[in-house]
């Protein structure tokens, strides 16, 4: 290691990126609060995406120019690793919510346990999970639930398989088998896309047939919170892997220099693991 650490010159993307994030969030806020301004939001979103595009493009170019040494590679690894850790904590908050509601809040409202006197306020309420009849009778709960053994099981298979195919692709890349890597990556992407489609179908069913909606009490709330943010992460994962596919097609990556691909793979596996948690705790139990 002899002064080879690459410190980039000035860059306009960080500052532009912050401004774009600001415009996007203000736009979203105006939409939510005042019901207007979707144009601002759209503009902001496009700007955010554009900045990401250009910023990552710079990184790719620098990487292709061989400016990054092994130490730089480790910086990226630490960076990505801790970023995923932050994402784990983000989901931990939501799983914690689910756990708390099921183990504490609902039984208490129904008169069980240390705070069970709450039942005084809700004499007619019976706790159950999934919660079909919320304490306040003016909130109508779901009238049916998603069976875990239909679409969710299919989706589990999709995601688990996709993790495997992605690993195969990665191994191939490490062996220098570019075409194999490409093919398995395509399979992964297709599986990811299938997952998203099935998830969309499931949401449609939930809203139209099961009465599982955002305002159907805590079951609907946690259901969409967890599956929604997970689905959003799958989408990001799919886009990331699609970019990796494009880069493979353009001839990027070598046997031992393909951290971008690997980071995308880490992310994908993380999303997969979250799904397993979801499948177990949102659908099955």
């Amino acid at each position: 290691m002899s002064g080879s650490y690459y410190v980039p010159e000035t860059s306009k993307w960080p500052a532009l990126g912050s401004a774009a994030v600001g415009v996007m969030m203000i736009g979203l806020g105006v939409v939510l609060v005042h019901g207007v301004g979707s144009l601002i939001m759209a503009l902001g979103t496009v700007a955010v995406l554009a900045v990401m595009w250009f910023w990552f493009r710079d990184v790719v170019i620098e990487s292709r120019q061989g400016l990054y040494d092994a130490q730089m590679d480790r910086s990226f690894r630490w960076g990505m690793g801790w970023f995923i850790f932050s994402e784990i904590m983000f989901f931990a908050a939501f799983f914690g919510t689910l756990y708390y509601v099921r183990t504490f809040a609902l039984p208490w409202l129904d008169g069980e346990g240390a705070k069970g006197i709450a039942t005084l306020l809700w004499p007619d309420f019976t706790a159950s999970w999934p919660l079909m009849n919320p304490p306040d009778s003016s909130i109508s709960g779901p009238h049916d639930i998603v069976s875990p053994w239909q679409l969710p099981l299919v989706n589990t298979l999709f995601l688990v398989t996709s993790s495997i195919t992605l690993t195969v692709s990665h191994e191939a890349l490490k062996e220098g088998l570019r075409a194999t890597a490409r093919n398995w990556l395509i399979v992964t992407l297709v599986l990811g896309a299938c997952f998203l489609i099935v998830q969309g179908v499931e949401y449609y069913e939930a809203y139209t047939h099961y009465g599982i909606t955002l305002d159907a009490g805590i079951y609907g709330s946690t259901f969409f919170l967890l599956t929604g943010f997970h689905g959003f992460h799958v989408t990001i994962g799919v886009v990331t892997l699609a970019v990796m596919l494009a880069r493979i097609l353009k001839g990027h990556f070598s046997r031992d220099d393909h951290f971008a691909f690997e980071a995308g793979a880490w992310y994908w596996h993380f999303v997969d693991v979250v799904w397993i948690g979801l499948f177990l705790f949102v659908y099955v139990f």
Partner: protein, 370 residues
Amino acid sequence: MRAMLAWVTGMGVSWLLAPAALANGWNMPKGVTEISRDIYSLHMTIFWICVVIGVVVFAVMFYSLFRYRRSQGAKADNFHEHTTVEVLWTTIPLLILVGMALPATATLQRMYDPSGADLDVMVTGQQWRWHYEYMDEGVSFTSSMSTPTSQISGEEARGENYLLDVDNPLVLPVDQKVRFLLTSDDVIHSWWVPELAVKQDAVPGFVNENWVRIEEPGIYRGQCTELCGKDHAFMPVVVHAMEQDEYDEWLAERKAEAEAEANSVDREWEMDELMERGEQVYGSVCATCHQQDGSGSGQFPALAGNDQMLDDVDWHKDVVVNGVSGTPMAAFGGSLSAVEVAAVITYERNAWDNDTGDVVQPSEIQEMLE
């Protein structure tokens, strides 16, 4: 050097100030229950332990600062580890902590035992007043601050119990175990009377328990201690503790009143009666938001000259009885009696030049409530 002296004097003065202030009533009250006295002694014990540790630590520190000044030619030593002292100053504090935790645990266990209560009172927080219900007695009422706004704005001299006076205090018997069941109709409030050492949050949708056994008759004042919006500062708690016989008398009176009111629901009420009653209810319950003169403010709509309200009696009744969900406008059908609701609606429809001449009868409201 001068600096050092200043330091030491400053420290000394404040350490002296602290006990002095504590001794002069600027301290947690000892209170009038067994628990409150236990808490007080816990508080003083930890305080003195901290003072002693502080004095020792700061004494070593100031000694070093004084003794090892370079200006006095001190030469630095080079030691930077010493396992024995390090182990000592990890274990000794640990033992001190255990010593503190034991009595705290015992006290807490007693505080957490509301069993065997003689009387249950449901305390409901509402923006910005308290509602008390003597369970199984059929007596309930609302308790709002009675300090006039003119004192707050300074137009009038402030009274002795400025901000700590209410129209209807909670009346309790002494030497009885009273169990409180606390909840809220809107946001989280917290019911606190320092001398009773009871502070408990009132959480909407849930019920908390606490209890008290007051040993001395008297008037005990406290405040809401959880930020609950604009008038959080103006939500006092007043407990009037009485001897048992006095209390029984009071309760009987209240019961009779409640019964009389229940019986009067069906009769035809006169405009004047309703207006009088309504003005009182309005002043104690509604005026915090809609203002005394019905002019409203900010998000709280004006009721004087409110066309929608004046044109549509049924809507008016509906809003007051059922509230407007998702806004601070609560469903008063739950906490006010039919007579009170009818009275306040009649009042609103005729006060402040509203002059509709409408009279809303308690029986109409009773019907809605059923």
